[in-house]
Symmetry: none
Subunit: 199 residues, 4 copies
DNA sequence: GATGAATGAGTCTTCATTCAT
DNA sequence: AATGAATGAAGACTCATTCAT
């Protein structure tokens, strides 16, 4: 018996993506389409292909599940953007790269975007988690500071810039995905960016 | 029986603000702080000062309640803005008046703003109601068209303008209410408007 | 239609003993035979002839149910004993009357006796309730004091006398109900009393 | 491989007191404080320092665990008392030695006493086990018979004497451990014994 | 219209037990 | 022997909704 091969095949059969990840995936879908209280844990585990008990083996309760999901998604987004950053380049270029990273990630992950939109304002996510998730984006503060020094954006507080940029980028993604306005994807993106650069 | 007398006294004693309104008020508060499924109808009726059965006298079920609440709030906002409009004036002035109307209404009704933010993306509101609520703002299309003709804003579809403006105005209100950025209320508002005018 | 008659019959059909009492009766039986955690609330409500939800209308949770049951039973016992007391009589006579009252009540209510035996030492009953239940018997302190003054029982603290008397009387009732010793009920009772009088 | 060496080291490292005993110890504590159904096997194994699966290696199921625990404790008590008995001495002396043995064991093992009090009347212990546990004390029947012949105690059935003596001794231990009556330990013990001798 | 007791399907969560490693 | 992830039946409790009064 070839232990290497048998090991691989059993890994693939039993662990196609890791149960924790399968739970998070199912939860993402159901929370987004049904809401937090509208998505029973029984349905989440069924969709994840595990038993009801197993869900609680990975997440002590439903609140922890949505908190971890929120955190995971925000970190996923932050990592994706940061992975493409190059501190050696100019601030305007770096900033635009971040925006495009956000938009691309959002177009690739429409359900995650819907989740973030829906739950950022929701009482279902713990406050501590919201704060912690926000910290994943702290590294951008430096780019903003530099961009202000370079005159690329107006001299306004980081908070203002952060909130407004998010609002505009979420708006861009909603327009793209709703497909209800007669503009090309690129037009939407460029028009959105225009609001940020001057604002 | 003297209907005038009996009507008056019972109205004043039992119905100081109208039970329907008291239910909507309680629902607004609880849906905003607890979410749709997180706010039991029993708690809503208790806060409204009525019995559990009475709630279902005014709203056939809980979904109708939140739908009506959403509709009522959006109409409230639209009416407030429209009441201050004067079609005889210039498009830029009218548009700015609308924005300021929105902002002022939002500052006066922070819970309603939170409700709109939270439930605009939520599956708890019926699609038909979302559409119907959107129609309350159809009258603004004319102002936008005029503003584009006057070169006050860029020539972009109504949908783009509508989504983006909402996003920016909600951002402005959030910054104002969170109080976390070192800017005066006026600075926040003006900086927000600047993004819209050019965008 | 005879409203008087119909009223009576519907009362009898719908309220043969009061739902609260039916729940307490069912709980008494099931807690005694299955233990606290061994008796599902679903089974209690089924035996009480009500729905699962109704149980929680009368008792906010299962712990309150057993606490109230314990309190009700202890009060039942205390009231029964006190109702036969006559402060005008001598202390020995009164004390013996109390003992016989206890024994008779215990023989009439074997399940309640089993319940008290089983749950007096159990962590399932809240401490506060145990204390409160104990206070139902405070009025006996006076009889004991008098009995000591009269030389009917030895001069020992109320606590000693209380605990020991209970132990003996519970023992008497167990021997009577187990039927495993070749003594008549009266012999058991008299032999038990003998232990108390001198102790 | 040196079995002696490996055996020793693993025994000492992994089995300082025997896993079976550690499970029984943990179960004793948790059953006493939380009740049978209130103490999850997972918590018992955690407290015993073993895995959930190992518990079921030593005890096929939870009922067997509590049955064995009950049996072990009763045997422990019986052995302790019997070990101090000397058939050559007089019946009154032997009997008193037994009582003192019980009291001393109870003062040394308060948790075991609480366990016996709590579970003697509980449906969680199998009937067969209760009978079997009772047999551990059969050897005392001879002492009682002798004591009756010697006129040390009244001529009453073994069952009466057994139940009543237990009740009194448990009462004594409860008074000692509750510390709520103004008597010295010796006074409580002697006053308790007095009840037995005459009864 | 107004009440609130009653319902029971549905929710989250627990836990004894198994079994592949 | 030992582990601990996995199971899923079962439990406590909730809550939208009804209906007799």
């Amino acid at each position: 018996m070839n232990s290497l091969h048998s090991g691989q095949s059993s890994d693939l059969l039993k662990n196609p993506a890791g149960k924790r990840e399968m739970i998070l995936d199912a939860a993402l879908h159901l929370f987004t389409t049904e809401g937090f209280h509208g998505a029973p844990t029984s349905q989440i585990s069924k969709m994840a292909g595990i038993s009801t008990g197993t869900l609680f083996h990975y997440f002590p309760d439903k609140n922890v599940l949505i908190d971890q999901l929120y955190l995971t998604i925000k970190k996923d987004l932050a990592d994706e953007i940061q992975s493409q950053d190059n501190p050696a380049l100019g601030s305007k270029y770096r900033l635009e790269k971040c925006f495009r990273g956000f938009i691309n990630w959002g177009m690739d992950n429409p359900e995650k975007i819907r989740f973030l939109e829906q739950f950022y304002h929701s009482p279902s996510i713990g406050e501590a988690v919201k704060v912690k998730a926000g910290e994943e984006f702290e590294w951008m503060r430096e780019i903003i500071t530099e961009a202000i020094r370079d005159g690329v954006i107006r001299d306004l507080p980081f908070e203002f810039f952060g909130v407004m940029t998010c609002q505009v980028l979420f708006g861009v993604l909603r327009l793209i995905s709703s497909n209800s306005c007669e503009m090309s994807v690129d037009e939407i993106i460029e028009s959105g960016f225009a609001m940020i650069w001057i604002g």
